[in-house]
Subunit: 293 residues, 2 copies
Amino acid sequence: MTLGGAGRFWPDLAPVLLPTHPVHFVEEITSAQNPLVKLARALERKKARIESGLFLTEGARHVTEGLDNGWQLHALLLSDAATDRDQVRALARQALDHGARVARVPERVLESLTHRDNAQNVIALFRMRLAGLEALAGARRLIALERPRDPGNLGTIIRLADSTGCGGVVILEEGCDPFSVEAVRASMGSVFAVPVVRCGVDAFDAWRRQEGLRLIGTSLEGSVRHTDVDPGARTCILMGNEQSGLPPAMAALCDGLVRLPMAGRADSLNLALATAVTVYEVWRRSGFDGARF
Amino acid sequence: MTLGGAGRFWPDLAPVLLPTHPVHFVEEITSAQNPLVKLARALERKKARIESGLFLTEGARHVTEGLDNGWQLHALLLSDAATDRDQVRALARQALDHGARVARVPERVLESLTHRDNAQNVIALFRMRLAGLEALAGARRLIALERPRDPGNLGTIIRLADSTGCGGVVILEEGCDPFSVEAVRASMGSVFAVPVVRCGVDAFDAWRRQEGLRLIGTSLEGSVRHTDVDPGARTCILMGNEQSGLPPAMAALCDGLVRLPMAGRADSLNLALATAVTVYEVWRRSGFDGARF
């Protein structure tokens, strides 16, 4: 980890910093052309995320969740205004403790990173991390998505998985990037809490059979309503993608194929909504086990 | 309705056009500075929508739905490529029949309107139209939203209302614009099929009492699960907004206040997902009346 030449000592935090850390002060960055700012900006693009292994998250609360869940923080960018807040100062200390770079950045520079007028005052660069199937062992509920296309849907579904005690989200074959800015934003911090696995269909199907998970697909070709299927004691819900639904070969792997009742002229729901309705129905059938309420 | 000076005769369609229509030919537009193109581009902004009374929709299928549902078409913009398709040619005829302007526009100009690389080949300018409460009379299910903020959520909920046979969507007090590009896009054409009403809380509550609709609010303060409330024979589901949930004064109006079970670290669901789970549960309790499946 290099400091670059722009670092200046930030006295307010200095007394609390341990001298053993490689980076033990807060840098001041004023230029939008600073290499760290340019890196952060580049993380909008998948190519830059793959090359650097990093992704962007916004907001102090979500950064805390990342750290609490053991994600590796690379750098923290704070606006001038944010550094007045006790919570943010504590976060800066925690970040330095983790060996991350911490930089104070003008608000207009942060806004240029988030494309928002009311930028979050805290932006973090974390190292990307996908889980393996073994992280899902013992899950009572899972969500598998076949090639999801919309990162907003993917992030919202990761948040849903978190809210409903699902053990994780499996992206089958290819699919949009769970670490894109839009997906991370929609996940509202849940991307740090829910294991996300990317996996081929065959490997996934072999694993879930061994695990004893019942695979319930939702499809316009389904022959029973989602309320009428036997979800079994442990269930993986399988959703086709936004454009084309579940391919026949994958539908054939399912233990049950359900369809959501529809009225009116619409022939489908938004993917994230359909997933939510199905997951809540499966969870209802098990008496909402593990719910806080 | 004026033609402007740029109109050129488009011979392929001429034979089918009735001579009694004020506009009976397809204009050729080549410039991104053409007033109609500039108007279309301006409709991204709420101010321009209010001033013109118009909004934008994309895609031949959705334009057809607008026309079939009696919405007033102001203008239709077609890409060069689109005019090769029979469906689009039929649509152009139908649009001229309705007295709308029809223009052929280079693809790059259409792309600049939608900010998409793969632009829809058909863009339409329709006249905005909100419904009154009387349009909701007799509905078995309704969705009311308190000051929704995210147009993507609003559009998705309008699509949900369509899919579940809800009589309409009520936006209470202020809220984001159902005719914004993002809301219309997320509604997937349902904005043409589902009455959307904007209304004050007091007027709405008086109306729904007179109608005999049971008002079920969802709130983090709710004391029963959404599966345990009596939805009554006719139900209006009331959802608070994305930031602050249901205000106490509105919660007090409700016949029942429910809460979705939650697990994990997440303390809430995305608004559209929470609405979907609640609506499907209410619908399930009535045996999915009116479902096609």
